[in-house]
Symmetry: C2
Subunit: 165 residues, 2 copies
Amino acid sequence: MIRPSRVENRLYLTDEQLRQGIEAMFFAYRGFTADPDRLLEDQGYGRAHHRALHFIGRVPGTTVNNLLMILGVTKQSLNRVLRSLQNDELVISKVGAKDKRERHLTLTDKGIQLEKALNHVQSERMRAAYRAVGSEAVEGFRAVLEHMMDAEMQKIYHDLKEQTK
Amino acid sequence: MIRPSRVENRLYLTDEQLRQGIEAMFFAYRGFTADPDRLLEDQGYGRAHHRALHFIGRVPGTTVNNLLMILGVTKQSLNRVLRSLQNDELVISKVGAKDKRERHLTLTDKGIQLEKALNHVQSERMRAAYRAVGSEAVEGFRAVLEHMMDAEMQKIYHDLKEQTK
DNA sequence: CTTGGAATGTCAACAATGCTGACGTAAAAA
DNA sequence: TTTTTACGTCAGCATTGTTGACATTCCAAG
């Protein structure tokens, strides 16, 4: 549980501290993607494929349009990635029953396998970091990240959390 | 399923918690880069230009090779960015006095101005997030990020901190 | 019911930024 | 001195963003 700063309501932050935060974010994100990137390279995929697999796995049956909002890229960019995943039989696209304009996306067994592998290496790094710092730090970490998101992203982030309850 | 007891050192993390951490990182990084991206677009630059400006500003007189290690890209990729920054007179490259193979990079006044503007919008978002969560959370945030970096990046990150003392 | 507009997804072409390979020049080693 | 290594530059390719054009489907106005 996060207590909003109890003593100093306004904490004084030097430019230097903020700059270190920026650099930490930059270097950490590289670490965050390093392990999945290695796995993906073996298969001839990139980060874009990872993101698609992740969120299709997270919300099975989602539409292309919904995925678009989550990922924040153009549909043309996403389409290219989805096409290759479908060709390789990692993803299945089914025309909507109600609305035939929509395509509903799900992972095949093969897709689930790769997604699991990617999720595993990424989770292990995060688990290690979490373990190293303890649970209070973890809550702080998540709190700061949440406040760094744009408002729409915060909403999507929370909706995803609800979804798996 | 066996539940490890929640003693302080021992942190039990569900798959779901780890997955949320992953997604938080993903969405937050988008927010983290959103404001600078807008500024950069106005000038016809991209994120790669931002990173170069940032670290040249941080370590004035650094060599291309040193910058390469910080950024973790190939010299060919960096070179393209540096060339455009030099053409636009944001960066100056000077042949090394001792070793003429090296180029030492510094920002021009124009370069400093743009770097300041980029740093400002990015810092403001971080400051807002920090303020919203309080100082304990901030420390947790930085601690987790640090443990998420690869070892070489941790070293570089710390060296940069020392440098400005 | 028909028709025109909005929504959804696909195809094509372009831009930014990764990458590898080839190479010139300077320094270091043999 | 000659060969090897290091540093930086130029050329070309791959991934993944972008905008534009378009076919199909749905829905709402008439």
